[in-house]
């Protein structure tokens, strides 16, 4: 597989940014300074980044409650995200959305989502726009194994096929929906579901950036070529609790440790690119350092940023009223 050097560097940086962003939130959340619910994407970075490395700002994605990684992968600016999570006026949503509603339409990012299964129908609509406006764009719906059981998701698989829409349905399967395992909650298989609706099914190991990048590339090319929707099933592990504060007694001790030891997408990436002579350790180290600084300054800036003004409460309910 040929991947441009630029793409490799950018993708590593995005994955590292997500990792550090989330690890930092884990620490900051424990101090009680961050309001609301926070769901971390640690361990799943290669999925969002591998898929989005095949997209441009002209393409649209929808995310989930576990949205920080998709936002960063799609190019949403980190300091604006951090400020949003702190509820500050400098946040990408001016402090009105918080962690679960980060969105940036200028980047083709139609929002994290507090409603499980909220995204897939929206991506049918975004794909319809891309198709009718003939802008060559595709829509990508990221959703979890848990969300794969929602009626809205299953209906969208059907609609996208019937309308032959340029949608890629990315099932991020981390084996759990909250505390419930997918072996309990998901009947049949994702593969059979895709085939049942007559759409191509692809799958890959979500800790392997290269596997995700390549498979997603094929899926996206298929959709972009006007051949209809595709399902991409990405196998993953979630490193933290469902939300911050979850003691995870439903998981065997060692499950997370093993994922960290054997399936760390950043470690695997580094090993692969350095062994193949594509990138130097020093280049990657430099990125690590730059990201560390970026996250640090985004937290400092977020803490110091002004709160929303009282008038903001009433603003932006409508375009015009």
């Amino acid at each position: 597989m040929q991947i441009a050097r630029e793409t490799l560097l950018r993708s590593y940086r995005a994955m590292r940014t997500i990792r550090d962003f989330e690890e930092r939130l884990h620490v900051e959340f424990a101090t009680g300074e961050i309001p609301g619910f926070v769901h971390l994407y640690c361990g799943e970075e290669a999925s969002g980044v591998g898929v989005c490395a095949n997209l441009t700002d002209n393409d649209t994605i929808s995310s989930t409650h576990r949205g920080h990684g998709h936002c960063i992968a799609k190019g949403v600016e980190v300091s604006g995200m951090m400020a949003e999570i702190y509820g500050k006026s400098t946040g990408v949503c001016r402090g009105k959305g918080g962690s679960m509603h980060i969105a940036d339409l200028s980047r083709g990012m139609l929002g994290a989502n507090g409603i499980v299964g909220g995204g897939p129908p929206l991506m049918c609509g975004a794909a319809l726009s891309h198709k009718l406006l003939k802008d060559d764009g595709v829509a990508v719906a990221f959703y979890g194994d848990g969300a794969s059981n929602e009626g809205s998701t299953l209906e969208s698989l059907n609609l996208a096929t019937v309308w032959k829409l340029p949608v890629v349905f990315v099932v991020e399967d981390n084996g759990y929906g909250e505390a419930t395992g997918s072996s309990f909650a998901v009947a049949g298989t994702q593969k059979a579901r895709a085939e049942g609706f007559g759409m191509p099914y692809m799958e890959c190991d979500g800790s392997d950036f290269f596997a995700v990048y390549q498979t997603a590339g094929e899926a996206i090319a298929h959709a972009r070529a006007g051949k209809g929707p595709v399902m991409l099933h990405v196998h993953l592990a979630r490193w933290y609790g469902h939300f911050e504060g979850d003691a995870m007694t439903y998981r065997a001790s060692g499950e997370v440790a093993e994922a960290k030891r054997d399936h760390d997408c950043l470690e695997l990436f580094r090993k692969k690119v350095t062994e193949a002579g594509l990138l130097e350790h020093s280049e990657l180290d430099a990125i690590d350092e730059a990201v560390r600084d970026e996250i640090e300054s985004s937290v400092i800036a977020a803490k110091a940023a002004p709160l929303p003004e009282p008038a903001d409460l009433l603003a932006d309910v409508y375009v015009r009223y």
Partner: protein, 342 residues
């Protein structure tokens, strides 16, 4: 009698009713929590906020059913089971998720009895948490009781304390109509003395949490506590209030509200739900129609603005009614000067 939290009171109501009647079952996402997990520990969560903790262990998988994330089908299944012999208590988690299953509630469960000419009984309870104050933002903070109140065929309960929650939930489970039972998420750790045994609180009978001469305050759910805080403060300033907790928005205890307004001549309504077509609007219409001559001042509503619930704490606090806003509204109705028409 012992001190119990709102969470414990609800758990106890479920447990007592499940012991009493084998047809009572519960279902919802992670109501046990842990099914299919790698540790084998089931009953790991007992619901996202631990309200149903321990019920799986006592009653087992036939009566405590974890569901996939699939609200339309399990809420509908609860309605169908209710119409055919079981007495399900389905947990919707956040009431905002009703967007995913409203048809099964609004067009199915609520209408069976009427559409079928009085031949159906649907002893269904849907529990959900509601309300702002948790920085949970626009999709996890709504106070949607007016939405359900609007639908004929549903009963709607908004318990204001642990004692109320236990008695009203037992009543809801024994009721033969579909009941929407809405728990304020900020109140789960509130504590008060609650009897250990079973008791019921009838629907449609308001509770007067205090009685006074000057102003009637009607408040719902968590707002009852805030209304009483405001009333305590006003009492020290020589203004005495009646605080009415209607307990249920459907049925609504119209008589108690009208009687109290007749006594005080002034009315303040505290309602956390979005202001258009909410309970404050509904009760204002009732009083304007039935007690117009008793009013010494215009009715005042302490309500949020017509906006989604914002995330940032400063904005959320501004959004919500609080004791200071209630106090100001009471003073405004007390200070109203009647101007004679020319």
């Amino acid at each position: 009698m012992s001190k119990k939290s709102y969470r414990q009171a609800i758990n106890e109501a479920l447990r007592l009713e499940m012991r009493r009647d084998p047809r009572v079952i519960i279902m919802g996402e992670d109501v046990a929590g842990g099914q299919g997990g790698s540790s084998g520990v089931v009953d790991a969560w007992g619901g996202v906020l631990g309200v149903t903790k321990g019920l799986y262990t006592e009653f087992g998988p036939e009566r405590v059913l974890d569901t996939p994330i699939t609200e339309a089908s399990y809420i509908g299944a609860a309605a169908g089971a209710a119409a055919t012999g079981l007495r399900p208590v389905a947990e919707l988690m956040f009431v905002d998720f009703v967007g995913c299953c409203l048809d099964q509630i609004m067009n199915q469960a609520a209408k069976f009895r009427y559409m079928f000419g009085g031949k159906a009984r649907t002893p269904l309870v849907i529990r959900a948490m509601f309300g702002a104050g948790f920085n949970a933002a626009a999709q996890h903070s709504q106070a949607l009781y007016p939405l359900f109140t609007h639908i004929p065929g549903l009963k709607v309960v908004v318990p204001s304390s642990p004692y109320e929650a236990k008695g009203l939930l037992i009543e809801a489970i024994r009721d033969d109509d579909p009941v929407i039972f809405l728990e304020h998420k900020v109140m789960y750790d509130d504590e008060e003395d609650v009897p250990d045994e079973s008791y019921t609180i009838p629907f449609g009978e308001a509770n007067l949490t205090r009685e006074g001469d000057d102003v009637t305050i009607v408040a719902f759910g968590r707002m009852v506590k805030l209304a009483n805080e405001a009333a305590d403060k006003l009492e020290r300033q020589g203004i005495s209030c009646t605080v009415i907790d209607p307990r249920t928005t459907s049925p609504l205890d119209r008589d108690t509200i009208l009687d109290c307004v007749a006594d005080t001549g002034r009315l303040v309504i505290v309602d956390e739900s979005s202001p258009r077509c909410n309970m404050a609007a509904d009760i204002s219409a009732l009083v304007a129609e039935e007690a117009f001559d008793a009013l010494k001042a215009p009715i005042r509503r302490v309500i949020p603005p017509h906006t989604p619930v914002p995330f940032a704490s400063v904005l959320e606090a501004l959004y919500l009614p609080d004791a200071a806003k209630i106090e100001a509204a009471v003073k405004a109705v007390m200070n109203h000067k009647v101007t004679e028409a020319a």
